[in-house]
């Protein structure tokens, strides 16, 4: 019979590991429970404070103020506002720093929520409160915080404060390293400055991601035709992502003044991606003036330009382009054949007749493509 190996050091290691593991499990489990309890209490407390401040501020915002004398100083109105919030300020000063922090946060949130819905004199009153409580200066400081999420939150809130003092800081935030800060700054600037903000946004922006473009597009679409001059200005941008964004938006808004600059980009711009995007936009605008130019692009050696031109002609509906489109249907790759066939079908009776002739031709693939597109059109007609 063999004797068991000597223990000692091994046992010590295992014991230490056991203790460490036990401690960790206890700490983690306790952490979960404490987190849950603390969080629940915190949420409840914040809600209570928020409700209390909402009630107080609603009363102050709706309170009738005595009429000012005709020769009253400009600052007299501000004196009245200051008097309204004097007691709250005094109470806040008396609190401990920790409590004051929570109370001020609840007050700030309550004021911001009001800011979303009010206008006129009440809005002015609210803006004064933001200044007077120091929230505006706080937001400006927070805009240069080292944590991006605090900067982003500050950028978002700065727009809701409606205080023009934050404009410079927000403009600087357009060049922040984090995209979320940039997006929040764009939205806030648009809220504060209006459509004019687009000039700065488009001039300063760089490397827009698709996500940022989508967010920015909502700002542009809010102003619709009023945004067109700024978008046309944006076509001069050296940044390709901004340029592509402006083209996309011009197509989306569909304003007639966009056709000429887009035609120029489609034919002259040195970059194929930008040209293809401009061609696509012309198609979406559906302006017949572009038809001749687009037809000339059907044979372009760059596939992207060729495909976008064919697609654009399909949108416009171009009977004169049918012979050239038929050539692409016969010679192109499968995807090009399908796009060409759709463009032919969109050009009216001439195109449909041409497509039917292809469907009885000799090339099996061309016949299949023609049949597919004819079926698509028949089903679409049935549906409408």
């Amino acid at each position: 019979m063999l004797s068991p190996p000597p223990m000692g050091f091994e046992l010590l290691i295992v014991l230490s590991l056991t203790i460490a593991a036990t401690m960790m499990v206890i700490v983690v489990s306790l952490g979960i429970v404490i987190h849950k309890v603390v969080n629940t209490n915190l949420v409840r407390r914040r809600q209570r404070l928020y409700s209390a401040y909402s009630d107080i501020m609603a009363g102050l915002l709706l309170q009738e103020l005595p009429a000012l004398l005709p020769n009253a100083r400009t600052s007299a109105l501000f004196d009245q506002y200051e008097l309204m919030i004097k007691s709250i300020k005094e109470q806040l000063v008396r609190m401990t720093p920790a409590r004051r922090k929570h109370e001020r946060e609840a007050l700030r949130l309550a004021l911001i929520d009001f800011a979303k819905d009010v206008s006129g004199e009440i809005s002015d009153r609210l803006v004064y409160f933001f200044y007077s409580f120091g929230f505006v200066d706080e937001q400006i400081i927070l805009l240069s915080n080292r944590h991006w999420w605090i900067r982003a939150q500050a950028a978002r809130d700065a727009g809701l404060l409606k205080a023009r003092r934050v404009i410079t800081s927000l403009t600087a935030a357009l060049e922040d390293e984090h995209p979320d800060v940039r997006i929040q700054a764009m939205e806030s600037l648009a809220r504060l400055v209006g459509v004019e903000s687009l000039r700065t946004i488009l001039r300063v922006s760089r490397n827009l991601s698709q996500w940022t473009s989508i967010e920015l597009s909502t700002i542009v679409m809010e102003y619709n035709e009023a945004a067109v001059p700024f978008l046309v200005e944006g076509l001069e941008s050296k940044d390709q992502s901004v340029l592509l964004f402006c083209i996309e938006m011009l197509a989306e808004i569909g304003f007639v003044t966009a056709v000429e600059p887009l035609r120029h980009l489609a034919s002259e711009y040195p970059n194929v991606v930008v040209r293809a995007k401009a061609i696509e936009a012309l198609g979406r605008l559906g302006d017949e003036r572009a038809e001749v130019m687009l037809t000339s692009f059907i044979d372009n050696p760059f596939p992207n330009i060729r495909l976008k031109s064919i697609e654009a002609l399909g949108r416009i509906g171009a009977p004169k382009a049918v012979p050239k489109l038929l050539k692409r249907l016969r010679q192109g790759e499968l995807s090009e054949k399908i796009i060409a066939a759709r463009a032919i079908a969109s050009s009216g009776s001439v195109g449909m007749k041409a497509l039917r002739s292809v469907s009885v031709s000799r090339d099996a693939l061309n016949i299949s493509v023609a049949e597919q597109v004819l079926e698509e059109f028949t089903v679409a007609q049935e549906r409408t």
Partner: protein, 474 residues
């Protein structure tokens, strides 16, 4: 002879301990990374407004691929649910993979399908397509049903990719349920970074949830033990595993139940492989491999809150088959991509992710079981130090509990899908109980997978599902 055996056994026992330390160290690092990544995600997401994405012309359209095999009882509800997702422009491509039941017939009847003349472009090799169907009804104009010869899920997905109109394809199981906003959330990484080639969402267990017409209306927990164990397992795998790996761009798995891919990237690497049961992991591994070999920038992302609900097996037999299949799939991937293992040319994937999956996930059960056997042999020979074994067992138990608790903790501090404190307590308890029997059982199933793999077993095995029905609460 005996002293040599004694030395060998002791050395092996030390090796098991060393393996155990390395494994738990890895888990700890992953848990820490996951925590950091989840916090980052939560902060980032708090500034994300998805409403513009739903309305914008700039939002790229998506093709949803739903392979169906013998799904006659549930397919209509599943498809209807997929057609109601909250996303701009998308199409649903249902691929009937040569079902032997009336899956196609019920689809044809319910959605008034006609046989379309759409040209089929076989960019990826797959079994023959019998027909492509579309609906006469305007409400279902974004539905495409493809009928094909049976070829397995991978083959069906390849056909789906061939038929897909759009650049982004979302692979999923026809019997899984997507939350309304799941597509928006899983698409966001592609919009933020043009180098993203794949992104996967979290899969959660639907057993015990209230489901109405393909929607989870109330989140709950099953009353049965097996699904409860799996809830904790899924937390560990998704929240503390995949989240950590994606932080290092070393994510090797995107669940087959819910994953979005850039179509051109999938076609570039040759689509799904037919000869493996781990086709989802294999595709992601191949994407990594080819992109790294070509030195092209790319990212594979895990997004922790677009939710896909799935039905977990409730019987030991079904669960055994599932785990056996997963492990055979993992083994396939390790064999097919062994070149990447410990190869510095493949960066994090070669030096961290592949070794982790090989040594911890693949060999872990073998080493764990061999530890049990060696202990028995040593006990028989009278050379076992019982104190040592007991302490080792306690330590392993505590680590097991800690990582399960860690997974639940990540859920609790982030998404809190189980708001009831009773649920939290139950899940924490499961994190302890699973270490007594369940863990050993799953390890045994995974060991058996080596034998089945060596025997040449390649199929999925019959998986019976209860189906969600209209209202389920078990």
């Amino acid at each position: 002879m005996i002293p040599i055996l004694q030395i060998i056994l002791h050395l092996y026992f030390l090796y098991v301990i060393l393996f155990f330390i390395v494994m738990n160290l890895t888990y700890t690092i992953l848990l820490t990374l996951s925590y950091r990544e989840i916090m980052k995600y939560m902060r980032h997401n708090s500034f994300s407004d998805f409403r513009p994405m739903l309305q914008s012309e700039l939002t790229p359209p998506v093709t949803l691929l739903a392979p169906a095999y013998n799904e006659e009882p549930t397919v209509v509800d599943s498809v209807k649910s997929l057609l109601k997702l909250n996303y701009g422009m998308y199409e649903v491509v249902v691929i009937n993979d040569g079902s032997k039941d009336k899956t196609l017939d019920v689809l044809k009847k319910e959605f008034e399908l006609y046989r379309s003349k759409q040209v089929y472009n076989p960019a990826l090799k797959a079994q023959a397509v019998r027909g492509i169907y579309r609906s006469h009804k305007t409400a279902y104009k974004n539905l495409v049903v493809v009928d094909k010869e049976n070829g397995g899920k991978a083959d069906a997905l390849n056909v789906g990719i061939n038929v897909a109109r759009y650049e982004y394809v979302c692979a999923m199981d026809a019997d899984s349920l997507l939350e309304d906003d799941a597509l928006q959330k899983v698409m966001k990484p592609f919009l933020e970074d043009s180098t993203v080639v794949a992104s996967g969402g979290i899969v959660r267990i639907a057993n015990g949830c209230e489901i109405d017409h393909g929607r989870v209306v109330k989140v709950g927990l099953s009353h049965k033990l097996l699904p409860l164990f799996q809830v904790v397992e899924y937390f560990r795998a998704f929240l503390s595993g995949r989240m950590g790996w994606q932080g290092l761009n070393g994510l090797l798995i995107i669940s087959g139940a819910f994953g979005m891919f850039k179509k051109s990237a999938v076609i570039e690497v040759g689509g799904y492989r037919h000869d493996t049961v781990g086709e989802d992991m294999e595709l992601v591994a191949r994407l990594h491999r080819i992109k790294l070999e070509k030195k092209e920038p790319y990212k594979v992302i895990f997004v922790p809150d677009p939710v896909c609900w799935t039905e977990a097996p409730e019987s030991l037999q079904m669960l055994a088959r599932q785990r056996n299949r997963w492990h055979r799939g993992l083994l396939d991937v390790m064999i097919l991509h062994r070149k990447m293992l410990l190869n510095g040319d493949y960066g994090v994937v070669g030096l961290a992710a592949m070794p982790y999956f090989f040594f911890v996930e693949l060999l872990g059960p073998v080493i764990e079981f061999s530890g049990y056997i060696i202990s028995i042999v040593m006990y028989a020979l009278g050379i076992l130090n019982m104190k040592m074994v007991i302490l080792f067992f306690i330590v392993s138990l505590f680590y097991g509990v800690m990582f399960s608790v860690g997974g639940v903790l990540l859920e609790e501090i982030s998404f809190r899908r189980y708001p009831n404190p009773k649920h939290l307590a139950l899940l924490l308890a499961m994190g302890v109980i699973e270490n007594f029997g369940y863990r050993q059982l799953t390890a045994w199933w995974r060991i058996k997978a080596f034998y089945d793999h060596a025997r040449g077993k390649r199929g999925w095995g019959l998986m019976q599902r209860k189906g969600f029905g209209n209202v389920q609460s078990s």
